[in-house]
Amino acid sequence: MTKPSVGGLESPDLSSHDATAHESAPHVPVFAGAAREELDQLLTRYPTKMAALLPALWIVQRERGWVSEDSMAEVSDLLDLTPAYVKGVVTFYTMYHQHPVGKYFIQVCTTSPCGICGAEEVVKSLLRHTGTGDLGLTSRDGKFTVIEVECLGACGFATPVMINEEFIESVTPEKVPGILEDLA
């Protein structure tokens, strides 16, 4: 998704989501206390430990905002998998963030049905009003990351936009400033 910065737009500050800042600190386990109990409960639903992998990764992302390599290693230990295996799974699914993202992670559907209803204009409007500069980059204040996604499954409500876990239907370029204001 990440593309080189478009000319004319202010070059974004990448340091706000620099993964190296997180690597130096020792890993604080995600699965302690309530999260651990939640995982233990999940494990009762499946005949194998491996089946709890996707749910476990969702817990990681909810707790940490992204899935770091340390978290992958932690999950692999808990589920009797190897870190390489977990990484293979994480990289298959597009919804797990492999690096930190903005406080508001904004996904815009641009697949054909939304595309022919003007989704590109919504993307442009979002990029302009969030100041992220380009797709996949995070705004200087660390608040926003905007990406295009493939079909969000709400084609009749073009253009659907997902902000973190919230689903907003029928977004037009004009509605974008209001939506962003509501977040603040």
Binding site: R45, Y46, P47, T48, M50, A51, A52, L53, L54, P55, L57, W58, L79, L81, G88, V89, F92, Y93, T94, M95, Y96, Q107, T110, T111, S112, P113, G115, I116, C117, E120, V123, K124, L135, E148, V149, E150, C151, L152, G153, A154, C155, G156, F157, A158, M162, E165, E166, F167
Partner: protein
């Protein structure tokens, strides 16, 4: 209910009847509307009797393949000593399709009930509802409904007080269209990459966790309670053209249409009336040019074909396409077909799991060529290459994603060749959708 619009008089609302009614989402509200009576009724029947009724009703899979549901259930052998599983495919990701989303958002208990009935009929102790990761609201609604059903004793170790165990769990996907393919869904459910499996073995022999499994689409399962309440004959009678297509079908309509939304009509309904009357036809000042009637994986129809279509499995096939998932993408004369197709192939390239050579390489290559043509750098040879690549991608891989990518390209080049040629010859007839890509 042609949600989000009021129901059109030509619709036959069964599944969509309570869309928009917030109260119907709750257990009490659902019971008030007759919910869970079917489950109560069938728990007194034998699994074989239930399977027979579903077989007799003519219900066919609403996920896209149209396989007879009762027949699929009959492949399961309850009591063979193995654990059995039911998977509900709620990974609705086919571009243009959003009907299951509405079923789960508005009538989650209809799905819970359908799952419980199916689970009982096939002898499955455990049901997983696999919902795509992006469906946050349907996920929430389904989780609430399942919790309510457990609390009310409808599900659990002693379902409805019959001493039978029916467990239902909601499982969240994480962003992968391919997990809507049944064996990929099972792989994903097991905690793996969503790579489709080689068949055979088929799921009824070795499905999720290597055990006998039945997998059904949301719409299919949600239709089950009503069939068992009112009987196979009643359902079977709902058929306007071909007796092999029975009941009602949900269509999610999107694109360049006046009233996009989810509609429910009887099998065999004229597509022409559907598009122009039920859905309101073209936007002001525009003319409809093409329809992709069954989600992005089915061949594109010209308006001539579309208007001659009777809406059922056989009817769409007779007019050069497929019923598919019922995701109707309407394209008007302001759109460049090349740009639409380019965006579709990009979708498939993005979603290919990458296992099979033809799909991994072919979807990406196809995208590069179509985008090049769209951007005015194509050649006439590219058109031949596209068709040949498409042929090499068809019928040669483990699953049909590869075929699906070739479908819009081949049908597009066949039916809208002039649009490709004019772009190749430097005439930019359409400038809409120049794609941020």
């Amino acid at each position: 209910m042609g949600f989000p619009h009021p129901s059109h008089r030509q619709e036959t609302p069964l599944l969509t009847r309570h869309f928009g009614e917030a109260e119907a989402r709750t257990l009490d509200g659902w019971k008030k509307r007759g919910g869970y009576q079917a489950l109560e009724k069938v728990l007194a029947m034998t699994p074989g009797e239930i399977v027979d009724i579903v077989k007799e009703s003519g219900l066919r899979g609403r996920g896209g393949a149209g396989f007879p549901t009762g027949l699929k259930w009959s492949f399961m052998k309850p009591g063979d000593g193995k654990p059995h599983y039911l998977c509900c495919n709620a990974d609705e990701s086919e571009p243009g399709t959003f009907k299951d989303r509405e079923v789960m958002r508005w009538t989650p208990h209809a799905l819970v009930e359908g799952c419980a009935i199916a689970a009982y009929a096939i002898g499955a102790e455990t049901t997983y509802i696999y919902i795509r990761g992006e469906f946050t609201e349907p996920l929430l609604r389904m989780e609430r409904a399942v919790r309510e059903a457990y609390d009310a004793g409808i599900l659990g170790a002693n379902a409805m007080g019959t001493g039978k165990r029916i467990d239902i769990y909601v499982h969240r996907g994480a962003g992968a269209y391919i997990c809507g393919e049944e064996t990929a869904l099972m792989e994903s459910l097991e905690g793996r990459r969503g790579n489709p499996r080689i068949k055979p073995p088929f799921p009824a022999v070795s499905g999720v966790f290597g055990q006998p499994t039945t997998i059904n689409n949301v719409e299919t399962l949600a239709a089950v309670p009503e069939i068992l309440m009112k009987g196979a004959a009643w359902y079977k009678a709902m058929s306007l053209s071909n007796p092999k297509s029975t009941g009602t079908k949900l269509y999610s309509v999107c694109g360049n249409i006046r009233r996009p939304g989810t509609y429910e009509v009887v099998m065999g309904f004229p597509f022409k009336d559907f598009l122009h009357d039920v859905c309101g036809g073209a936007l002001d000042g525009r003319k409809l040019k093409a329809v992709i009637p069954g989600g992005a994986s089915v061949p594109i129809q010209t308006m001539e074909e579309a208007e001659a279509t009777l809406m059922d499995y056989e009817g769409f096939a007779a007019q050069g396409s497929m019923l598919g998932s019922g995701g109707v993408i309407v394209i008007d004369d302001a759109q460049s077909m090349v740009a639409v197709i380019a965006r579709l192939t990009r979708f498939f390239a993005h979603e290919s799991c990458g296992q099979c050579t033809q799909c991994r390489e072919g979807t990406a290559w196809t995208t590069k060529i179509v985008e090049r043509i769209r951007d005015g750098h194509g050649t006439m040879e590219d058109l031949d290459t596209l068709v040949e690549i498409g042929e090499n991608m068809t019928g040669t891989t483990i699953c049909v994603l590869s075929d699906s990518c070739a479908v819009p390209v081949i049908s597009g080049i066949t039916k809208f060749r002039s649009e490709f040629e004019s772009l190749i010859h430097g005439k930019r007839v359409h400038s809409v959708l120049t794609a941020v890509a």
